[in-house]
Protein backbone atom coordinates (compact mmCIF):
# COMPACT_ATOMS: atom_id res chain seq x y z
CA UNK A 1 0.00 0.00 0.00
CA UNK A 2 2.69 2.42 1.04
CA UNK A 3 4.50 1.80 -2.22
CA UNK A 4 1.46 2.81 -4.32
CA UNK A 5 0.84 5.97 -2.31
CA UNK A 6 4.37 7.13 -2.93
CA UNK A 7 4.09 6.65 -6.65
CA UNK A 8 0.77 8.55 -6.78
CA UNK A 9 2.39 11.43 -4.89
CA UNK A 10 5.25 11.23 -7.25
CA UNK A 11 3.03 11.42 -10.28
CA UNK A 12 1.25 14.46 -8.86
CA UNK A 13 4.57 16.09 -8.04
CA UNK A 14 5.80 15.33 -11.52
CA UNK A 15 2.71 16.78 -13.19
CA UNK A 16 2.90 19.97 -11.15
CA UNK A 17 6.59 20.25 -11.94
CA UNK A 18 6.03 19.79 -15.66
CA UNK A 19 3.22 22.35 -15.76
CA UNK A 20 5.30 24.99 -14.03
CA UNK A 21 8.32 24.12 -16.12
CA UNK A 22 6.52 24.38 -19.46
CA UNK A 23 4.77 27.58 -18.41
CA UNK A 24 8.07 29.18 -17.43
CA UNK A 25 9.73 28.11 -20.66
CA UNK A 26 6.92 29.62 -22.71
CA UNK A 27 7.18 32.78 -20.62
CA UNK A 28 10.90 32.93 -21.35
CA UNK A 29 10.27 32.65 -25.09
CA UNK A 30 7.70 35.45 -24.96
CA UNK A 31 10.00 37.72 -22.95
CA UNK A 32 12.81 37.05 -25.41
CA UNK A 33 10.88 37.48 -28.63
CA UNK A 34 8.40 40.19 -27.73
CA UNK A 35 10.84 43.15 -27.87
CA UNK A 36 11.92 42.20 -31.39
CA UNK A 37 8.35 41.80 -32.65
CA UNK A 38 7.32 45.01 -30.93
CA UNK A 39 10.20 46.96 -32.48
CA UNK A 40 9.39 45.53 -35.90
CA UNK A 41 5.73 46.50 -35.52
CA UNK A 42 6.59 50.04 -34.42
CA UNK A 43 9.09 50.45 -37.25
CA UNK A 44 6.41 49.52 -39.79
CA UNK A 45 3.68 51.59 -38.20
CA UNK A 46 2.77 55.14 -39.16
CA UNK A 47 4.83 57.44 -36.93
CA UNK A 48 1.99 59.74 -35.88
CA UNK A 49 -0.22 56.78 -35.11
CA UNK A 50 2.53 55.23 -32.95
CA UNK A 51 2.35 58.23 -30.60
CA UNK A 52 -1.17 57.11 -29.62
CA UNK A 53 0.42 54.03 -28.12
CA UNK A 54 -0.92 50.52 -28.01
CA UNK A 55 1.25 49.00 -30.75
CA UNK A 56 2.17 45.52 -29.63
CA UNK A 57 3.26 42.94 -32.18
CA UNK A 58 1.36 44.06 -35.26
CA UNK A 59 1.41 47.47 -37.00
CA UNK A 60 -1.94 49.27 -36.81
CA UNK A 61 -1.46 51.68 -39.69
CA UNK A 62 1.10 50.12 -41.97
CA UNK A 63 3.66 52.49 -43.45
CA UNK A 64 7.20 52.02 -44.81
CA UNK A 65 7.77 55.74 -44.34
CA UNK A 66 10.03 55.40 -41.28
CA UNK A 67 12.57 53.45 -43.30
CA UNK A 68 12.35 55.80 -46.26
CA UNK A 69 12.82 58.75 -43.94
CA UNK A 70 15.76 57.10 -42.21
CA UNK A 71 17.66 56.51 -45.41
CA UNK A 72 16.76 59.80 -47.06
CA UNK A 73 17.42 62.10 -44.09
CA UNK A 74 20.54 60.60 -42.73
CA UNK A 75 22.61 60.09 -45.83
CA UNK A 76 25.25 58.40 -43.74
CA UNK A 77 23.16 55.31 -42.98
CA UNK A 78 23.81 53.69 -46.34
CA UNK A 79 27.54 54.26 -46.03
CA UNK A 80 27.53 53.02 -42.43
CA UNK A 81 25.74 49.86 -43.53
CA UNK A 82 28.42 49.32 -46.12
CA UNK A 83 31.23 49.82 -43.58
CA UNK A 84 29.59 47.44 -41.11
CA UNK A 85 29.11 44.77 -43.75
CA UNK A 86 32.62 45.14 -45.10
CA UNK A 87 34.05 44.88 -41.59
CA UNK A 88 32.17 41.66 -41.08
CA UNK A 89 33.32 40.18 -44.39
CA UNK A 90 36.96 41.33 -44.44
CA UNK A 91 37.40 40.81 -40.71
CA UNK A 92 36.07 37.27 -40.69
CA UNK A 93 37.96 36.23 -43.84
CA UNK A 94 41.31 37.48 -42.55
CA UNK A 95 40.54 36.38 -39.02
CA UNK A 96 39.67 32.81 -39.87
CA UNK A 97 42.74 32.47 -42.06
CA UNK A 98 45.15 33.71 -39.42
CA UNK A 99 43.48 31.83 -36.55
CA UNK A 100 43.62 28.63 -38.59
CA UNK A 101 47.31 29.00 -39.41
CA UNK A 102 48.24 29.76 -35.84
CA UNK A 103 46.01 27.02 -34.43
CA UNK A 104 47.58 24.52 -36.82
CA UNK A 105 51.12 25.31 -35.68
CA UNK A 106 50.07 25.23 -32.02
CA UNK A 107 48.50 21.82 -32.49
CA UNK A 108 51.82 20.44 -33.71
CA UNK A 109 53.36 18.76 -30.68
CA UNK A 110 56.84 18.87 -32.22
CA UNK A 111 56.84 22.63 -32.91
CA UNK A 112 59.58 24.26 -30.80
CA UNK A 113 57.79 27.55 -30.25
CA UNK A 114 54.47 25.89 -29.38
CA UNK A 115 54.78 26.21 -25.63
CA UNK A 116 55.82 29.84 -25.49
CA UNK A 117 53.27 30.91 -28.12
CA UNK A 118 50.44 29.09 -26.37
CA UNK A 119 51.30 30.80 -23.10
CA UNK A 120 51.52 34.23 -24.72
CA UNK A 121 48.10 33.67 -26.26
CA UNK A 122 46.37 32.34 -23.14
CA UNK A 123 47.60 35.29 -21.06
CA UNK A 124 45.91 37.73 -23.42
CA UNK A 125 42.57 36.33 -22.28
CA UNK A 126 43.19 37.52 -18.72
CA UNK A 127 44.61 40.99 -18.94
CA UNK A 128 44.76 43.98 -21.20
CA UNK A 129 46.95 47.04 -21.28
CA UNK A 130 43.91 49.18 -20.60
CA UNK A 131 42.03 51.62 -22.74
CA UNK A 132 44.52 54.49 -22.57
CA UNK A 133 47.75 52.63 -23.46
CA UNK A 134 45.89 50.82 -26.26
CA UNK A 135 44.54 54.11 -27.59
CA UNK A 136 48.03 55.59 -27.59
CA UNK A 137 49.38 52.56 -29.41
CA UNK A 138 46.72 52.93 -32.10
CA UNK A 139 47.59 56.59 -32.41
CA UNK A 140 51.29 55.96 -32.84
CA UNK A 141 50.52 53.29 -35.42
CA UNK A 142 48.46 55.83 -37.36
CA UNK A 143 45.31 53.78 -36.93
CA UNK A 144 43.12 56.60 -35.66
CA UNK A 145 40.46 57.45 -38.24
CA UNK A 146 41.72 54.56 -40.29
CA UNK A 147 39.64 51.64 -41.53
CA UNK A 148 42.40 49.21 -40.56
CA UNK A 149 41.73 49.84 -36.86
CA UNK A 150 38.60 47.71 -37.28
CA UNK A 151 40.48 44.85 -38.89
CA UNK A 152 44.04 44.51 -37.58
CA UNK A 153 43.56 44.21 -33.79
CA UNK A 154 40.68 41.76 -34.31
CA UNK A 155 42.63 39.40 -36.57
CA UNK A 156 43.73 37.18 -33.71
CA UNK A 157 41.42 36.00 -30.96
CA UNK A 158 42.93 33.69 -28.37
CA UNK A 159 39.60 32.01 -27.68
CA UNK A 160 38.95 31.31 -31.36
CA UNK A 161 42.41 29.84 -31.77
CA UNK A 162 41.90 27.52 -28.80
CA UNK A 163 38.59 26.33 -30.26
CA UNK A 164 40.19 25.54 -33.63
CA UNK A 165 43.21 23.95 -32.01
CA UNK A 166 41.20 21.57 -29.89
CA UNK A 167 39.29 20.58 -33.02
CA UNK A 168 42.52 19.89 -34.94
CA UNK A 169 43.82 17.95 -31.92
CA UNK A 170 40.81 15.70 -32.33
CA UNK A 171 41.67 14.78 -35.92
CA UNK A 172 43.56 11.50 -36.41
CA UNK A 173 47.29 12.19 -35.91
CA UNK A 174 48.19 9.64 -38.59
CA UNK A 175 46.97 12.01 -41.30
CA UNK A 176 49.79 14.46 -40.82
CA UNK A 177 52.37 11.69 -40.38
CA UNK A 178 51.29 10.02 -43.60
CA UNK A 179 51.34 13.29 -45.54
CA UNK A 180 54.83 14.03 -44.24
CA UNK A 181 56.10 10.64 -45.31
CA UNK A 182 54.70 11.37 -48.74
CA UNK A 183 56.79 14.53 -48.74
CA UNK A 184 54.04 17.14 -48.34
CA UNK A 185 55.12 20.57 -47.11
CA UNK A 186 53.53 22.10 -44.01
CA UNK A 187 51.61 24.53 -46.23
CA UNK A 188 50.19 21.66 -48.20
CA UNK A 189 49.25 19.77 -45.03
CA UNK A 190 47.48 22.86 -43.72
CA UNK A 191 45.60 23.85 -46.86
CA UNK A 192 44.89 20.49 -48.45
CA UNK A 193 44.40 18.24 -45.42
CA UNK A 194 43.63 20.20 -42.25
CA UNK A 195 41.59 22.98 -43.88
CA UNK A 196 38.99 20.78 -45.61
CA UNK A 197 38.63 18.60 -42.52
CA UNK A 198 38.16 21.59 -40.21
CA UNK A 199 35.42 23.28 -42.21
CA UNK A 200 32.75 22.76 -39.50
CA UNK A 201 34.76 24.54 -36.82
CA UNK A 202 35.96 27.20 -39.24
CA UNK A 203 32.34 27.97 -40.11
CA UNK A 204 31.70 28.60 -36.43
CA UNK A 205 34.70 30.91 -36.14
CA UNK A 206 33.66 32.86 -39.25
CA UNK A 207 30.25 33.38 -37.65
CA UNK A 208 31.72 34.44 -34.30
CA UNK A 209 34.01 37.00 -35.90
CA UNK A 210 31.38 38.29 -38.34
CA UNK A 211 28.82 38.78 -35.55
CA UNK A 212 31.25 40.57 -33.28
CA UNK A 213 32.45 42.80 -36.14
CA UNK A 214 28.89 43.65 -37.15
CA UNK A 215 27.95 44.42 -33.54
CA UNK A 216 30.88 46.54 -32.46
CA UNK A 217 30.43 50.25 -32.01
CA UNK A 218 32.83 51.19 -29.24
CA UNK A 219 35.91 51.08 -31.46
CA UNK A 220 34.14 53.39 -33.89
CA UNK A 221 33.36 55.84 -31.10
CA UNK A 222 36.88 55.65 -29.68
CA UNK A 223 39.01 55.67 -32.83
CA UNK A 224 36.92 56.90 -35.76
CA UNK A 225 34.17 59.15 -34.40
CA UNK A 226 35.47 62.19 -36.25
CA UNK A 227 35.40 60.54 -39.67
CA UNK A 228 31.88 60.30 -40.99
CA UNK A 229 32.80 57.96 -43.81
CA UNK A 230 34.07 55.36 -41.33
CA UNK A 231 30.97 55.35 -39.15
CA UNK A 232 29.26 52.00 -38.58
CA UNK A 233 25.59 51.11 -38.34
CA UNK A 234 25.82 50.27 -34.64
CA UNK A 235 27.52 53.60 -33.92
CA UNK A 236 24.83 55.50 -35.83
CA UNK A 237 22.23 53.64 -33.77
CA UNK A 238 24.09 54.48 -30.60
CA UNK A 239 24.06 58.17 -31.54
CA UNK A 240 20.32 58.07 -32.18
CA UNK A 241 19.79 56.32 -28.86
CA UNK A 242 21.82 58.93 -26.99
CA UNK A 243 20.17 61.85 -28.80
CA UNK A 244 16.62 60.69 -28.18
CA UNK A 245 17.43 60.05 -24.53
CA UNK A 246 18.86 63.52 -24.14
CA UNK A 247 15.77 64.92 -25.81
CA UNK A 248 13.36 63.17 -23.50
CA UNK A 249 15.46 64.01 -20.47
CA UNK A 250 15.58 67.71 -21.26
CA UNK A 251 12.01 67.97 -22.43
CA UNK A 252 10.61 66.48 -19.25
CA UNK A 253 7.30 64.89 -20.10
CA UNK A 254 6.59 62.80 -23.12
CA UNK A 255 4.17 65.16 -24.82
CA UNK A 256 6.57 68.05 -25.21
CA UNK A 257 9.33 65.74 -26.36
CA UNK A 258 7.06 64.45 -29.08
CA UNK A 259 6.05 67.85 -30.38
CA UNK A 260 9.54 69.30 -30.27
CA UNK A 261 10.96 66.36 -32.17
CA UNK A 262 8.20 66.57 -34.73
CA UNK A 263 9.17 70.14 -35.48
CA UNK A 264 12.64 68.94 -36.26
CA UNK A 265 12.00 65.85 -38.28
CA UNK A 266 8.61 66.42 -39.82
CA UNK A 267 6.45 63.35 -39.53
CA UNK A 268 8.77 60.90 -37.84
CA UNK A 269 9.08 60.59 -34.06
CA UNK A 270 12.28 59.48 -32.35
CA UNK A 271 10.59 56.27 -31.28
CA UNK A 272 9.78 55.31 -34.86
CA UNK A 273 13.22 56.26 -36.16
CA UNK A 274 14.87 54.30 -33.39
CA UNK A 275 12.71 51.29 -34.09
CA UNK A 276 13.52 51.37 -37.80
CA UNK A 277 17.21 51.81 -37.11
CA UNK A 278 17.22 48.98 -34.58
CA UNK A 279 15.60 46.67 -37.08
CA UNK A 280 18.24 47.44 -39.70
CA UNK A 281 20.97 46.78 -37.14
CA UNK A 282 19.59 43.36 -36.11
CA UNK A 283 18.09 42.25 -39.42
CA UNK A 284 21.12 40.39 -40.78
CA UNK A 285 21.46 38.52 -37.50
CA UNK A 286 17.75 37.73 -37.26
CA UNK A 287 17.74 36.44 -40.85
CA UNK A 288 20.89 34.37 -40.58
CA UNK A 289 20.10 33.11 -37.11
CA UNK A 290 17.69 30.24 -37.84
CA UNK A 291 20.05 28.90 -40.48
CA UNK A 292 23.19 29.21 -38.43
CA UNK A 293 22.14 28.57 -34.86
CA UNK A 294 23.13 24.93 -34.83
CA UNK A 295 26.72 25.92 -35.62
CA UNK A 296 26.80 28.37 -32.75
CA UNK A 297 26.17 25.71 -30.11
CA UNK A 298 28.61 23.28 -31.62
CA UNK A 299 31.15 26.09 -31.54
CA UNK A 300 30.75 26.59 -27.84
CA UNK A 301 30.74 22.91 -26.97
CA UNK A 302 33.47 21.97 -29.45
CA UNK A 303 36.10 24.09 -27.85
CA UNK A 304 37.94 23.84 -24.60
CA UNK A 305 35.06 25.38 -22.71
CA UNK A 306 33.60 21.98 -21.97
CA UNK A 307 35.47 22.17 -18.67
Amino acid sequence: MARIRVSVNERVESAIFDTINYALMIFLCIVTLYPFLNTLAISLNDAIDTVRGGIYIWPRVFSPYNYIKLFSENNNILNATFISASRAIVGSALGVFSCMSLAFTLSRKDFVLRKVFTKLLVYTMYFSGGIIPVYMLMRSLGLINNYLVYILPAIIGAYNIMVIRSYIDGLPAGLIEAAKIDGASEYRILFQIIFPLSLPVLAVIVLFIAVSQWNSWFDTMLYCSSTRSLSTLQFELQKILMASRMLSESAGDAATSMSSSMDVSGMVTPTSIRAAMTMIAVLPILCAYPLLQKYFISGLTLGGVKG
Binding site: P35, S101, G130, Q234, P290, G307
Partner: protein, 321 residues
Protein backbone atom coordinates in the same frame (compact mmCIF):
# COMPACT_ATOMS: atom_id res chain seq x y z
CA UNK B 1 38.95 26.35 -20.42
CA UNK B 2 40.45 23.71 -18.15
CA UNK B 3 41.57 21.73 -21.16
CA UNK B 4 43.16 24.72 -22.76
CA UNK B 5 45.22 25.63 -19.76
CA UNK B 6 46.19 22.08 -18.96
CA UNK B 7 47.26 21.21 -22.44
CA UNK B 8 49.40 24.31 -22.59
CA UNK B 9 51.43 22.88 -19.75
CA UNK B 10 52.36 19.71 -21.56
CA UNK B 11 56.01 19.48 -22.50
CA UNK B 12 56.59 19.96 -26.15
CA UNK B 13 59.82 18.32 -27.07
CA UNK B 14 59.52 14.61 -27.33
CA UNK B 15 62.35 12.91 -25.41
CA UNK B 16 65.30 11.89 -27.51
CA UNK B 17 64.87 14.64 -30.09
CA UNK B 18 67.37 17.16 -28.94
CA UNK B 19 68.90 19.98 -30.88
CA UNK B 20 69.69 23.60 -30.50
CA UNK B 21 66.75 25.96 -30.75
CA UNK B 22 68.13 27.58 -33.84
CA UNK B 23 68.61 24.32 -35.71
CA UNK B 24 65.11 23.31 -34.79
CA UNK B 25 63.74 26.63 -36.01
CA UNK B 26 65.45 26.26 -39.37
CA UNK B 27 64.17 22.72 -39.61
CA UNK B 28 60.62 23.92 -38.88
CA UNK B 29 60.81 27.12 -40.89
CA UNK B 30 57.48 26.44 -42.57
CA UNK B 31 55.75 26.30 -39.20
CA UNK B 32 57.59 29.47 -38.23
CA UNK B 33 56.28 31.20 -41.36
CA UNK B 34 52.75 30.11 -40.49
CA UNK B 35 52.87 31.31 -36.89
CA UNK B 36 55.36 34.12 -36.29
CA UNK B 37 53.64 36.88 -38.35
CA UNK B 38 50.41 36.32 -36.43
CA UNK B 39 52.17 36.12 -33.08
CA UNK B 40 53.76 39.46 -33.90
CA UNK B 41 50.26 40.91 -34.23
CA UNK B 42 49.33 39.43 -30.84
CA UNK B 43 52.45 40.89 -29.25
CA UNK B 44 51.87 44.26 -30.91
CA UNK B 45 48.25 44.69 -29.83
CA UNK B 46 48.26 42.83 -26.50
CA UNK B 47 51.75 43.19 -25.07
CA UNK B 48 53.19 46.42 -26.46
CA UNK B 49 50.49 48.52 -24.70
CA UNK B 50 51.92 47.33 -21.37
CA UNK B 51 54.75 49.73 -22.11
CA UNK B 52 52.22 52.48 -21.55
CA UNK B 53 51.95 51.43 -17.90
CA UNK B 54 55.03 53.57 -17.35
CA UNK B 55 52.70 56.54 -17.72
CA UNK B 56 51.11 55.78 -14.38
CA UNK B 57 54.41 56.55 -12.67
CA UNK B 58 55.04 59.69 -14.67
CA UNK B 59 53.30 62.98 -15.21
CA UNK B 60 52.49 62.42 -18.84
CA UNK B 61 50.61 65.15 -20.65
CA UNK B 62 49.53 64.47 -24.21
CA UNK B 63 51.09 66.97 -26.58
CA UNK B 64 53.52 68.28 -23.96
CA UNK B 65 55.71 65.26 -23.22
CA UNK B 66 56.33 61.88 -24.76
CA UNK B 67 56.07 58.90 -22.44
CA UNK B 68 59.86 58.73 -22.25
CA UNK B 69 60.69 62.32 -21.32
CA UNK B 70 57.76 62.91 -18.99
CA UNK B 71 58.93 63.57 -15.41
CA UNK B 72 58.76 60.67 -12.94
CA UNK B 73 56.31 61.12 -10.11
CA UNK B 74 56.63 57.73 -8.41
CA UNK B 75 53.43 56.54 -6.80
CA UNK B 76 51.78 59.97 -6.68
CA UNK B 77 49.03 58.98 -9.10
CA UNK B 78 48.19 55.98 -6.95
CA UNK B 79 48.24 58.09 -3.78
CA UNK B 80 45.84 60.53 -5.39
CA UNK B 81 43.69 57.62 -6.51
CA UNK B 82 43.36 56.14 -3.04
CA UNK B 83 42.41 59.49 -1.56
CA UNK B 84 39.83 60.28 -4.23
CA UNK B 85 36.28 59.79 -2.97
CA UNK B 86 35.03 59.35 -6.55
CA UNK B 87 37.31 56.36 -6.85
CA UNK B 88 35.62 54.66 -3.89
CA UNK B 89 32.24 55.48 -5.32
CA UNK B 90 33.27 53.92 -8.63
CA UNK B 91 34.68 50.90 -6.81
CA UNK B 92 31.42 50.45 -4.91
CA UNK B 93 29.36 50.72 -8.10
CA UNK B 94 31.61 48.27 -9.91
CA UNK B 95 31.50 45.68 -7.13
CA UNK B 96 27.75 46.12 -6.70
CA UNK B 97 26.97 45.73 -10.38
CA UNK B 98 29.37 42.85 -10.96
CA UNK B 99 28.26 40.85 -7.95
CA UNK B 100 24.60 41.27 -8.86
CA UNK B 101 25.37 40.25 -12.43
CA UNK B 102 27.42 37.29 -11.23
CA UNK B 103 24.77 35.98 -8.84
CA UNK B 104 21.79 36.58 -11.14
CA UNK B 105 23.67 35.28 -14.15
CA UNK B 106 24.76 32.06 -12.48
CA UNK B 107 21.45 31.28 -10.82
CA UNK B 108 19.49 32.02 -14.00
CA UNK B 109 21.71 30.01 -16.33
CA UNK B 110 21.85 27.01 -14.02
CA UNK B 111 18.09 27.11 -13.41
CA UNK B 112 17.37 27.35 -17.13
CA UNK B 113 19.72 24.45 -17.88
CA UNK B 114 18.12 22.28 -15.18
CA UNK B 115 14.63 23.07 -16.43
CA UNK B 116 15.51 22.45 -20.07
CA UNK B 117 17.09 19.19 -19.02
CA UNK B 118 13.77 18.09 -17.49
CA UNK B 119 11.84 18.67 -20.72
CA UNK B 120 11.11 15.39 -22.43
CA UNK B 121 9.66 16.74 -25.70
CA UNK B 122 12.76 17.14 -27.87
CA UNK B 123 11.29 19.62 -30.37
CA UNK B 124 10.00 21.91 -27.61
CA UNK B 125 13.35 21.83 -25.83
CA UNK B 126 15.17 22.71 -29.05
CA UNK B 127 12.83 25.57 -29.84
CA UNK B 128 13.11 27.09 -26.38
CA UNK B 129 16.87 26.77 -26.49
CA UNK B 130 17.16 28.36 -29.92
CA UNK B 131 14.98 31.29 -28.89
CA UNK B 132 16.72 31.73 -25.55
CA UNK B 133 20.15 32.43 -26.94
CA UNK B 134 19.09 34.72 -29.75
CA UNK B 135 19.73 37.90 -27.69
CA UNK B 136 23.33 36.84 -27.14
CA UNK B 137 24.04 37.70 -30.77
CA UNK B 138 22.68 41.21 -30.80
CA UNK B 139 24.82 44.17 -29.81
CA UNK B 140 24.47 45.98 -26.50
CA UNK B 141 23.41 49.05 -28.48
CA UNK B 142 20.33 47.20 -29.70
CA UNK B 143 19.80 45.55 -26.31
CA UNK B 144 20.02 48.90 -24.53
CA UNK B 145 17.49 50.30 -26.98
CA UNK B 146 15.17 47.42 -26.18
CA UNK B 147 15.61 47.96 -22.45
CA UNK B 148 14.79 51.66 -22.79
CA UNK B 149 11.72 50.95 -24.89
CA UNK B 150 10.43 48.17 -22.64
CA UNK B 151 10.87 50.14 -19.43
CA UNK B 152 9.68 53.47 -20.77
CA UNK B 153 6.95 55.06 -18.64
CA UNK B 154 5.36 56.16 -21.90
CA UNK B 155 3.80 52.96 -23.20
CA UNK B 156 6.65 50.59 -22.38
CA UNK B 157 5.48 47.00 -22.06
CA UNK B 158 6.66 46.52 -18.46
CA UNK B 159 4.73 49.55 -17.25
CA UNK B 160 1.69 48.57 -19.33
CA UNK B 161 1.64 45.14 -17.68
CA UNK B 162 2.26 46.51 -14.18
CA UNK B 163 -0.49 49.11 -14.51
CA UNK B 164 -2.99 46.66 -15.97
CA UNK B 165 -2.29 44.15 -13.21
CA UNK B 166 -2.86 46.94 -10.72
CA UNK B 167 0.60 46.53 -9.18
CA UNK B 168 1.43 50.19 -9.64
CA UNK B 169 -0.92 53.13 -10.05
CA UNK B 170 1.14 55.27 -12.38
CA UNK B 171 3.87 54.18 -14.81
CA UNK B 172 7.30 54.07 -13.15
CA UNK B 173 10.19 55.85 -14.91
CA UNK B 174 12.54 52.93 -14.19
CA UNK B 175 15.53 54.16 -16.18
CA UNK B 176 15.69 57.43 -14.28
CA UNK B 177 15.61 55.88 -10.79
CA UNK B 178 18.84 55.26 -8.95
CA UNK B 179 17.43 52.48 -6.79
CA UNK B 180 16.60 50.31 -9.80
CA UNK B 181 19.69 50.83 -11.92
CA UNK B 182 21.83 47.94 -10.66
CA UNK B 183 18.88 45.61 -10.83
CA UNK B 184 18.11 46.70 -14.41
CA UNK B 185 21.73 46.07 -15.42
CA UNK B 186 21.70 42.61 -13.81
CA UNK B 187 18.33 41.62 -15.24
CA UNK B 188 19.03 42.91 -18.74
CA UNK B 189 22.22 40.90 -18.62
CA UNK B 190 20.19 37.83 -17.72
CA UNK B 191 17.80 38.55 -20.60
CA UNK B 192 20.68 38.78 -23.04
CA UNK B 193 22.87 35.92 -21.90
CA UNK B 194 20.86 33.37 -19.93
CA UNK B 195 20.36 31.02 -22.87
CA UNK B 196 23.97 31.22 -23.93
CA UNK B 197 25.17 30.64 -20.38
CA UNK B 198 22.94 27.58 -20.06
CA UNK B 199 24.58 25.81 -23.02
CA UNK B 200 27.70 24.93 -21.03
CA UNK B 201 25.67 23.40 -18.20
CA UNK B 202 23.46 21.50 -20.63
CA UNK B 203 26.48 19.98 -22.30
CA UNK B 204 27.79 19.01 -18.86
CA UNK B 205 24.40 17.42 -18.07
CA UNK B 206 24.48 15.46 -21.31
CA UNK B 207 27.35 13.52 -19.83
CA UNK B 208 25.44 12.36 -16.73
CA UNK B 209 25.01 8.57 -16.59
CA UNK B 210 21.24 7.82 -16.89
CA UNK B 211 21.73 4.96 -14.40
CA UNK B 212 22.15 7.58 -11.67
CA UNK B 213 18.63 8.88 -12.31
CA UNK B 214 17.20 5.39 -12.46
CA UNK B 215 18.74 4.26 -9.20
CA UNK B 216 17.69 7.52 -7.54
CA UNK B 217 14.12 6.91 -8.77
CA UNK B 218 14.15 3.34 -7.43
CA UNK B 219 15.30 4.67 -4.08
CA UNK B 220 12.18 6.83 -4.08
CA UNK B 221 13.61 10.21 -5.07
CA UNK B 222 11.05 12.47 -6.77
CA UNK B 223 11.78 14.94 -9.58
CA UNK B 224 13.03 17.71 -7.33
CA UNK B 225 15.14 15.35 -5.25
CA UNK B 226 16.72 13.94 -8.38
CA UNK B 227 17.57 17.46 -9.53
CA UNK B 228 19.19 18.39 -6.26
CA UNK B 229 20.97 15.09 -5.63
CA UNK B 230 21.93 14.01 -9.14
CA UNK B 231 21.85 16.87 -11.64
CA UNK B 232 23.32 19.68 -9.55
CA UNK B 233 26.20 17.65 -8.03
CA UNK B 234 27.08 16.38 -11.50
CA UNK B 235 27.52 19.86 -12.91
CA UNK B 236 29.21 21.21 -9.78
CA UNK B 237 32.72 21.04 -11.30
CA UNK B 238 31.58 23.11 -14.29
CA UNK B 239 29.93 25.65 -11.99
CA UNK B 240 33.09 25.90 -9.95
CA UNK B 241 35.38 26.50 -12.92
CA UNK B 242 33.13 29.20 -14.32
CA UNK B 243 32.83 30.83 -10.93
CA UNK B 244 36.61 30.99 -10.52
CA UNK B 245 36.99 32.43 -14.01
CA UNK B 246 34.32 35.03 -13.37
CA UNK B 247 35.64 36.14 -10.01
CA UNK B 248 38.76 37.31 -11.83
CA UNK B 249 36.51 39.64 -13.80
CA UNK B 250 34.73 41.17 -10.81
CA UNK B 251 36.28 44.62 -11.41
CA UNK B 252 35.01 44.62 -14.99
CA UNK B 253 31.29 45.20 -14.81
CA UNK B 254 30.82 45.42 -18.58
CA UNK B 255 31.69 48.82 -20.00
CA UNK B 256 29.35 48.80 -23.00
CA UNK B 257 26.27 47.78 -21.07
CA UNK B 258 26.67 50.21 -18.18
CA UNK B 259 27.72 53.04 -20.48
CA UNK B 260 24.71 52.58 -22.73
CA UNK B 261 22.14 52.09 -19.99
CA UNK B 262 23.46 54.89 -17.83
CA UNK B 263 22.09 58.41 -18.08
CA UNK B 264 22.45 61.66 -16.24
CA UNK B 265 19.82 60.90 -13.61
CA UNK B 266 21.47 57.66 -12.47
CA UNK B 267 25.06 58.78 -12.93
CA UNK B 268 25.87 58.43 -9.23
CA UNK B 269 25.23 54.66 -9.25
CA UNK B 270 26.31 54.05 -12.86
CA UNK B 271 29.84 55.40 -12.74
CA UNK B 272 31.93 52.25 -12.62
CA UNK B 273 35.72 51.99 -12.67
CA UNK B 274 35.80 51.44 -16.42
CA UNK B 275 33.65 54.50 -17.04
CA UNK B 276 35.78 56.45 -14.58
CA UNK B 277 38.89 55.53 -16.61
CA UNK B 278 37.13 56.41 -19.85
CA UNK B 279 36.13 59.82 -18.52
CA UNK B 280 39.65 60.59 -17.32
CA UNK B 281 41.10 59.61 -20.67
CA UNK B 282 38.64 61.01 -23.16
CA UNK B 283 37.12 63.96 -21.33
CA UNK B 284 39.84 65.26 -19.02
CA UNK B 285 42.88 63.90 -20.92
CA UNK B 286 44.50 62.80 -17.66
CA UNK B 287 46.24 59.80 -19.19
CA UNK B 288 48.63 59.09 -16.31
CA UNK B 289 45.88 59.02 -13.73
CA UNK B 290 43.57 56.93 -15.92
CA UNK B 291 46.34 54.42 -16.53
CA UNK B 292 46.91 54.13 -12.79
CA UNK B 293 43.27 53.10 -12.36
CA UNK B 294 43.68 50.60 -15.18
CA UNK B 295 46.72 49.07 -13.47
CA UNK B 296 44.81 48.85 -10.21
CA UNK B 297 42.10 46.89 -12.04
CA UNK B 298 44.53 44.50 -13.68
CA UNK B 299 46.51 43.83 -10.52
CA UNK B 300 43.43 43.22 -8.38
CA UNK B 301 41.97 40.91 -11.03
CA UNK B 302 45.18 38.96 -11.17
CA UNK B 303 45.30 38.60 -7.38
CA UNK B 304 41.63 37.61 -7.23
CA UNK B 305 41.90 34.94 -9.86
CA UNK B 306 45.01 33.53 -8.17
CA UNK B 307 43.25 33.41 -4.79
CA UNK B 308 40.09 31.89 -6.27
CA UNK B 309 42.17 29.24 -7.98
CA UNK B 310 44.08 28.44 -4.76
CA UNK B 311 40.84 28.16 -2.78
CA UNK B 312 39.25 25.87 -5.31
CA UNK B 313 42.40 23.72 -5.27
CA UNK B 314 42.24 23.51 -1.47
CA UNK B 315 38.56 22.59 -1.44
CA UNK B 316 38.83 19.54 -3.62
CA UNK B 317 42.31 19.37 -4.99
CA UNK B 318 41.57 20.75 -8.41
CA UNK B 319 42.16 24.25 -9.71
CA UNK B 320 42.07 25.55 -13.22
CA UNK B 321 45.73 26.37 -13.65
Amino acid sequence: MQQIVKSSKRTDLAPGRKGTLLRKLIEQKQLVVLSVPFMLIVILFSYVPLWGWLMAFKDYKPGVYTILNAPWVGFNNFKELFSDSYFYLALRNTLGISSLKLVFGFVAAITLAVMLNEIKIKAFKRTVQTISYLPHFISWVVAANIVFMSLSPDGGIVNTVLVNLGLVKDPVPFMGMKEYFWLIVALSNVWKDVGWGAIIYLSAMAGIDPCLYESAAIDGAGRLKRIFHVTIPSIAPTIKILLVLNIGWILYSGFEQVYLLGNSSVDEVARTLEIYVYNYAMKYFRYSYGTAIGIFNSVVSFVLITIANKVSKKVDGEGIF
